[in-house]
Point group: C2
Chain length 317, copies 2
């Protein structure tokens, strides 16, 4: 971790912002009494602020992200994203970096896993009536993508992660998506296919019990994860793998300990990136905006396929 | 279990037949030296034979099943099935009856699981080169349904099981099925949807590592099974359930012991059915041909959707 001090500005009042700032401050021995400002502009105008976190509704991202960028601030956006959001994806991956790296190692192992043939990902949670009535994620003028943007985004990201970020050839939204009265997606799924015969499906919903699955099936091995969004245990991530096993081969479970709670790890990883840029003049990584844009392309295709009555949509990078 | 003696005739020479006969004979203390006949007709003509097991290629099912029925024999057919095959489905369910009943109890529990919203099933195994070249399951004139009939059949059956055998409204085969040179399906998947917003997907393949998943997501609970075809441990079946749990709620694993190896259980269950008919004049259950026909309807729809270039197919019971 870089030892350069990074000053964060937070625009917004979502729960996650307060939680993250407090947790990070506590974990890293920051002085209490973080400065509060009366307006977002005041934060952006503060010369000592290095990085800005925007826990705002998606529809407000563009305005404040552009302003923050103009003020030369590093930027963390909440997903779903629709503009240049280099850092956000980095954070998503960083939050589960230790087990993600081990999983990637397994599915990249030609002998243990072989060529990837099929993936299925699922992220659902049962939103309560208050959420379904009032949350910004179900308001067409705020987060019009609904469950697709909020939960499906992770499903698509995980599928692309498994495919080394190679875009599928076509994407077809499955019949039976559910919408609220305002037309915001509450539940949907899709199937994707690649030139080489790889296939994938995902399902996301605000209307079902918490489920956070990745299943990746290779020619020689299988990977199962049941908590890919947030590990069931804060300081432990787990997945199970099976390799060249038969009907008597119960998959082995792998547990990975992380030294910090994941929210702290997210911020630590981001600080480290910003620190490197600030202290050493490194250039921001271009890998993350590319991955983020690909996820967004698939999101767009899911919407387009719905508009076209579930016709397949070609994905052109 | 009925104590009526049931005499089995076996037509065919598949591995499973020899294994099952030997296992059953051993488990039940049958005298060694089971009678062998020079022709299938001779078995069917034997008046003392109560039941006939036909481990034959699908294309030969119709002929020998009809002949056996004409000779008043009870019948076990291997799937995939295309004619009246009441007993076979019973066996498929019976083989995992004890844990299946517990799983069904969970997903039928309105408080613990709630309404079913989404299912995903997957059955894949990596066939070896000899299988892919020579097995009857990849020959268009024998088992033209390939992986769909052999592996997909279980996936579809499991989805219908989860839906209380209510047929979906439409079925759309996913793009990217794989075929051998003779046009037999080696890998495919599909998505299904019901009137009430329930959805399901499945994937089956001869080209991927052994994977045998059921995921059922209800409004209040989630069920995961990773060995729904054949339990990893012969005398133990397991599944995990989560109910109204949050991000800190690791699913509980449930283990069920079975008193007999599952192949013996299959035959025991079938014997019990036949015994009841023979000893008490019970009528064969009509539930199983109905379920079997529904599975076959979905299989037909998968094929039709492929022929129609992945258009959705309406399922009309």
């Amino acid at each position: 971790m870089s030892e350069t001090v990074i000053k964060f500005g937070i625009l917004g009042c979502a729960d996650i912002a307060r939680k993250k700032a407090a947790k990070f401050a506590a974990d890293h021995g920051f002085p209490p009494g973080t400065q509060a400002y009366g307006s977002y502009d005041a934060v952006l105008d503060h010369l000592e602020v290095d990085a800005v976190y925007l826990p705002l509704p998606t529809s407000l991202h563009a305005k404040w992200a552009v302003l923050a960028t103009q003020k030369k601030k590093h930027l963390i956006l909440e997903k779903p994203v629709a503009v240049d959001v280099a850092e956000f994806d980095k954070i998503v991956e960083a939050c589960v970096a230790s087990s993600t790296a081990r999983m990637k190692e397994f599915i990249s192992d030609g002998r243990a896993f072989g060529k990837l043939r099929a993936m299925h990902t699922c992220f659902t949670f049962a939103a309560d009536p208050v959420f379904l009535e009032n949350d910004i994620r179900v308001k067409p003028d705020l987060d019009a993508l609904g469950a697709l943007g909020d939960a499906g985004w992770y499903c698509i990201w995980a599928i692309l992660w498994g495919s080394d970020y190679e875009l599928p050839r076509t994407m077809t939204t499955s019949r039976g998506p559910l919408f609220n009265k305002a037309g915001v997606i509450l539940s949907c799924g899709a199937s994707l296919d690649w030139e080489d015969g790889r296939v994938a499906t995902f399902h996301c919903s605000f209307l079902s019990h918490l489920t956070m699955d990745i299943t990746a099936v290779g020619m020689k091995g299988t990977l199962h994860v049941q908590d890919f969004i947030i590990p069931f245990q804060e300081s432990e991530a787990s997945f199970s793998v099976a390799s060249e096993s038969g009907f008597d081969g119960k998959p082995a479970e792998h547990l990975f300990s992380t030294s910090l709670p994941q929210e702290a790890m997210m911020v630590k990883e981001f600080s480290s990136l910003v620190g490197a840029i600030k202290a050493k003049g490194s250039h921001p990584e271009m890998r993350w905006p590319i991955i983020s844009r690909k996820t967004q392309l698939v999101i767009d295709a899911v919407k387009l396929s719905i508009e076209r009555r579930f016709e397949p949509v070609e994905i052109l990078g």
